[in-house]
């Protein structure tokens, strides 16, 4: 009873709490919106419980409302979520050797925010740390979804609207310590945001692919021009 609360477990909960708190409002917003779209509580729950990918769930609701068929919705989801392929590629090189069965579990929980916390956390991490972090995120996402669906009607509309900012604020807050100490990190971040804005304005790529192209181009450029310096700073 006393032994399991090791320093590692405590650190994991400490890292997981902010994600829990950041996910809750966004998940509530998803629950409220689902109910507004007329889907059942079971369907709403399944969205969060088995897909577990915020942006694509909101997009799927929109597509449902426009009357798009199953094929189109699933294809769009693939495109929107394919960025996680790159995030998993990064994480697979940083997570210490673990048994295959845990990799299947860990892979399920690779969301933007879990990835951001893990990737900006210096050094390697154990499976215990990763799984606790992901469980914090998952419980908030699924719990918040149900809470939003069931109790959403009682929230003032303006409050539920303002919850849309929570995920962006979460990502920014996770990133701030990094860009505070490294100008290179700041340049990479802003360059990627600018490129994404331009690509979206040009409107030549399907939904979701602008982010993938940005990651590929900016990370490639970064690896040529400034990778060594970033590396030194991150290790220092």
């Amino acid at each position: 009873m006393i032994n399991w609360m090791t320093k590692e477990v405590q650190d994991a909960f400490k890292a997981g709490l902010p994600i829990f708190i950041g996910y809750m409002p966004a998940a509530i917003a998803f629950g409220i919106l689902s109910k507004g779209c007329g889907i059942t509580l079971l369907e709403c729950f399944l969205f969060s419980a088995v897909v577990f990918a915020g942006a694509s769930q909101f997009i799927a609701l929109n597509l449902l409302m426009t009357g798009m068929g199953p094929g189109g919705i699933i294809l769009t989801t693939l495109l929107v979520n394919f960025r996680h392929f790159l995030m998993s590629a990064y994480l697979s090189t940083r997570i210490a050797k673990v048994a295959k069965k845990y990799l299947f579990l860990i892979a399920f929980g690779v969301t933007d925010e879990v990835f951001s916390v893990l990737s900006l956390n210096r050094g390697r991490f154990s499976k215990t740390f990763v799984i606790i972090l992901q469980l914090s995120a998952y419980s908030a996402w699924v719990g918040g979804t149900i809470a939003g669906y069931v109790m959403g009607g009682f929230l003032p509309e303006i409050l539920s609207k303002s919850m849309g900012v929570a995920l962006y604020a979460l990502l920014l807050a996770i990133l701030l310590p990094e860009i505070k100490t490294s100008v290179k990190a700041l340049i990479l971040t802003i360059a990627s945001g600018l490129l994404n804005t331009i690509l979206i304005k040009l409107d030549i790529l399907p939904n979701g692919w602008t982010i993938i192209v940005c990651i590929l181009i900016i990370a490639l450029a970064g690896s040529f021009f400034i990778a060594t310096e970033v590396q030194e700073e991150r290790c220092g």
Partner: protein, 102 residues
Amino acid sequence: MDNLIPVILGMAAVTYGPRLIPFILMSNREIPKRVDAFLKCIPMAAIGALIIPGVFSATPDMPMAALSGMAFTMIFGLWKGGIIIPVLGSVAVTYLVLLSAS
């Protein structure tokens, strides 16, 4: 659509696949330096593109509201750090700006 569950399961499959494949292909393998440098730049590139320009339409009726919330996150985060207060504060500031405009 009458039954959404097959669609949701399809979405789950195409989401899980890309999350899983790199773990199976790459784990426990030595990564070349060049590739490692590329992977190290992914976090910043990803977060930059995830925030911009999406945040400008986080509150579609009034982009200034979300931007005020983010400004709070930025200022408090740089000043004191942490994540919980910057996140909850951003929702609160966004709410107040939307409220005062309504």
